[in-house]
Symmetry: C2
Subunit: 334 residues, 2 copies
DNA sequence: CCGTATCACTGAAACGGTTCACAACCTTGA
DNA sequence: TCAAGGTTGTGAACCGTTTCAGTGATACGG
């Protein structure tokens, strides 16, 4: 028989105090040491545990943090979500993990739903950082953005993508690659893709020839996209703006009988643990995922606890050279 | 200005009805068509959305389902969690994802916390299915178990592990392997490991020589464990009871200069998407993950909606042959 | 024409906490 | 001795719904 749980009133009765006093006592405020001890004992005795729902209704705080991911088909984002969820749990909060699957409209809807669900704050990986609803959202609750800057957030863990792109392209350039395909994650109807403009700008600087395409995160779909671009353009290297997309390139290359890096080089972005296991290992831009997790959790906790001072943490990447980028084949003469 | 949201009283006032009538109307009960229309219009006008917290307090239902995973370091379980979370969202429920990290004590604590959090039900991958608290828990809310049977659950999605193990071992046997290492996921202090007894029993039947060890799911830690067992026993094949552990064997084999399947064969269990990408592809026991997700979501929805009829779905595996299991080297004579 | 259902709706009591305003008591300092 | 101030604790309002019991109508069967 799961008998009804004890209420605060029963504890009050047991101790001869008022419910208010018990409430204060259990949260360590405004009462004498001795009373606190008595209340604690009675609570333990009765197996009393404050009902989080009632507490949320009365206090306005739910202890839940919304975690709005860009696309959980991306293994790296999965790791990020798992890490953040664990980190929040350690701070006695729960994560409500939602997946925008790369769709700005869905992202907007989910953000709305999370707010309606009364989360204490949100950690987001914006699909469409330029969407106007963000600033509105940021006014109604603390938001920590990961990856992109967002107007009005309480905190930001931003990536120095400029540096990441430079690292990747300079390495490709140094290895002699000139004709490069860029594969960025597919996002339904995002107007401008910052990654694309960043990469093309940097490519211009280096005198590289870039052809741009998009690919979904899922392995099967990414493979199709990679297949198409390899077929159509025969680049000497493909730069994937997410490791999970690079995995698709591996699969497509196998299908096409292309060897990596002999026939085509592959550069990733993220450094998911699996990337070290492929043959050849995926050369990729490494973003310290643990650092990101820690920073996000720390900023969110601080903001949700009221210390909503706007803070910004910038992540710096490093290049992780493995075997997937080789020298470009020397075409033609000289 | 995020002005306070509208309450049901304001809608009542706007329509000239009582709050009760509005409450009924918005849920399509007990009121005339015409009133319903009027209420809907007024609610839309005011931007009214029922507060889930207040609703939960009054009705006792939170629309949240706890998802208690065995170990989210396992990539396959990550996929499972992501899939279930998405499936529940489609049914207008939220998933509260928690990670027991293979620890029965932690599992117990988290289950307790989820119940305190007033979830409408729990989907669990039990680390310790024999723990006594499960049956108690099952009495207080609907539970759907994945992987293992649990006393008193509303639903079960169980794996025919017997068949899975047979599939794997018979294949290894057919390929000439006799000396096999078994690597099962590490779980803190679980008394008996069903996987071990299942495998050793089947191995006996087939006349196989099995040495048992455990490995954590994380790549680095799994690699260490694999390294040790390869070093110590030089098995001709290692059977990993999770693909993520097999990944560790790949890494360890590389460190040791062992070729797969030339020097050592590897058999997995799960079939995570990445397993097809390794070189050689991981031969593994494939459990239809989409089917599991669908079944779990369906059972949970049904149970949480009151149709708590105890249901059991049994999953059947198939063997996915890729390249990681080869013929055993012929040792000695004949 | 009367009793009985049915329908549409209302009032008030939950649900289980938190928090505000205030009271009682005890110190303290002048 | 008295005003000021600091602790402890209290009572009641409140958070925003749902739900139960009940109230007038209106319809209906006999």
């Amino acid at each position: 028989m799961p008998r009804k749980r004890a209420t605060i009133r029963e504890v009050a009765q047991a101790t001869g105090l008022s419910p208010a006093a018990v409430s204060y006592a259990l949260r360590g405020m405004q009462v004498s040491e001795e009373t606190m001890e008595r209340v604690r004992a009675a609570a333990a005795e009765l197996g009393y545990e404050a009902d989080p729902i009632a507490r949320a209704l009365a206090s306005g705080r739910t202890n839940m943090i919304g975690l709005l991911c860009g696309s959980l088909e991306d293994l790296w984002q999965q790791s990020l979500a798992v890490g953040i969820s664990r980190g929040l749990r350690e701070k006695d909060r729960y994560a409500l993990i939602l997946d925008a699957v790369g769709d700005p409209a869905r992202e907007r809807a989910l953000a709305q739903q999370l707010r309606d669900q009364r989360v204490d704050g949100m950690i987001v990986q914006p699909v469409d950082p330029a969407a106007p609803f963000w600033s509105e959202l940021c006014e109604s609750l603390p938001v920590v953005a990961i990856g992109d800057s967002l107007a009005g957030t309480a905190g930001e863990v931003v990536f120095d993508n400029r540096r990441g792109v430079t690292l990747a392209l300079e390495h490709l350039h140094a290895m002699g690659h000139r004709r490069i395909a860029l594969l960025t994650p597919t996002m339904t109807s995002t107007p401008d893709r910052p990654a694309d403009v960043l990469v093309t700008a940097e490519a211009d600087r280096l005198g590289l020839d870039i052809v741009v395409a998009t690919a979904p995160h899922g392995l099967a779909a990414a493979t199709d996209a990679a297949h198409r671009i390899l077929d159509a353009h025969r680049p000497s290297a493909v730069f994937c703006f997410a490791d999970s997309i690079a995995y698709g390139v591996y699969a497509a290359a196998a299908e096409l009988g292309l060897s990596i890096p002999g026939d085509v080089s592959v550069m990733g972005y993220d450094n998911h643990p699996m990337s070290s296991l492929l043959t050849p290992g995926l050369t990729t831009v490494d973003w310290d995922i643990d650092g990101i997790v820690r920073a996000a959790v720390r900023l969110m906790s601080a903001a949700a606890d009221g210390g909503a001072r706007r803070r910004r943490v910038v992540q710096q990447p490093t290049l992780r050279e493995r075997g997937s980028v080789g020298h470009a084949p020397t075409v033609g003469g000289a």
